[in-house]
Point group: C2
Chain length 282, copies 2
Amino acid sequence: MSPDVINIAKLSDGGSSEHQIQHRIDVLKKWNLLPGSKILEIGCGQGDFTLVAAYMVGDQGHVTAIDPAPLDYGAPMTLGQAQDKLKQGQIGDRMTFYQSNLQEFLDSSASEQVYDYAIFVHSVWYLPSADALQPMLAALHGRTKHLLIAEYSLDICGDIAALPHLLAAISQAEFNSRSNALDQDDNIQSIISPQIICALAQKAGWELQKEEVVESAEGQEDARWEVHRVLSEAYSLRSESTGDAARQGFANALIDAVAQSARVLGPSPKLRTLPTWLGKWV
Amino acid sequence: MSPDVINIAKLSDGGSSEHQIQHRIDVLKKWNLLPGSKILEIGCGQGDFTLVAAYMVGDQGHVTAIDPAPLDYGAPMTLGQAQDKLKQGQIGDRMTFYQSNLQEFLDSSASEQVYDYAIFVHSVWYLPSADALQPMLAALHGRTKHLLIAEYSLDICGDIAALPHLLAAISQAEFNSRSNALDQDDNIQSIISPQIICALAQKAGWELQKEEVVESAEGQEDARWEVHRVLSEAYSLRSESTGDAARQGFANALIDAVAQSARVLGPSPKLRTLPTWLGKWV
């Protein structure tokens, strides 16, 4: 384990696993942010990435982290509790959290006029659809020097141990693409492909500088979490409670496909988290 | 190539490729039908399987093949033309074709009281949903000694060259699970998993005897056909013409996933057709 992971794990004090920290370091190292950077993070949730970014930009840098979710959302710790804990930590003064959507925040006096980087890390799939991303990318144009997006790739890159995660993502996105059935507890509300993100960014006036892919960190838990969710009894019941017969049959077949793709990996399958795609725009 | 394939290819006279014939022989060999059997084939289409089954059951056997589709459906040959050609061939007297749905056929004087085998070969995914299969399995109970179903598995069995076919199947089924958007030209109307088929058969009073999996025959074209269809311009346009933003975004991401899964296989990818799952009930 690298010294950075050990240091950040101490600062996190149990908030993030070492695998999650490692993954976020891997993403940030690809982007190679300058120390002292001013970052706007969109969709920060409990602040897992916020902490890693605050560590990496050093004591002259700052991360402004926004999320529209209610502060009492989340378990066992709520969003508000998790963010407060980070603020009270050793590098807490490098982070500021706001409960806000992007447009309202940019319009407020709390926002800088121009950030060095606006960053989405695994927050794009939490949007209800690509249509929700488009106005955000447009609003950011002129308000940040660089736009950085990290989200799962829909490509297992030849590793069948990542197939259960891919199919679990498709299953959750299928459920949440039903207009009458949004479940905010799903980590995946929509699957938005790199191609679609690039098309939206271009439409919003951004110029693509670089695309990269980061393999998931060894032991990264996301695949296990999402597959476990899809294979839970509550998930099947939820699926049966909405939609017509054809939709329900389709949803059930996807659940079976997730189960089968995990089963073929053996009795205690080592599920691999999908690779993460990175885009960088100016 | 086996003598059987060569013989059937001659009888088919260009109607089926050798790969398609090989696949159907592989399926029938697993089922090990007795010569002289009386078969009821449900969803025969152009008769690709009908011919192979008629060959395999010998001159004392017979295949009664039904399909509700209009006889002028299909290109370049219509269903009616393809079936007529088989009837006029050397073993044409071993086959009888009826344009009928199952219940109407069983109620008609044309039907035997009891068949040796009722067979679905790659016709289950052409049904609009699992709900359409249930009454068929119930109607067959008592009218056939054995029920045999062959349909694609949702399991790529560790071969990533089959992933594009799996994702293309999911994409087509997603489109056709929209109540307002059935496209009868899709070979895949719904994905119905082995688990769902088994549950429906049990509910209809059938006792499962055996489950098996047959790998696709080398060169079997189905993967290429379905992937090509999903990646065609017409398919994208069709997807964009229906549904709300979230559904459309989901459909577009699935198309991108199909494209990416094929792209990683190289510039001229050898796409593998999904394995076929076989169920046998008494």
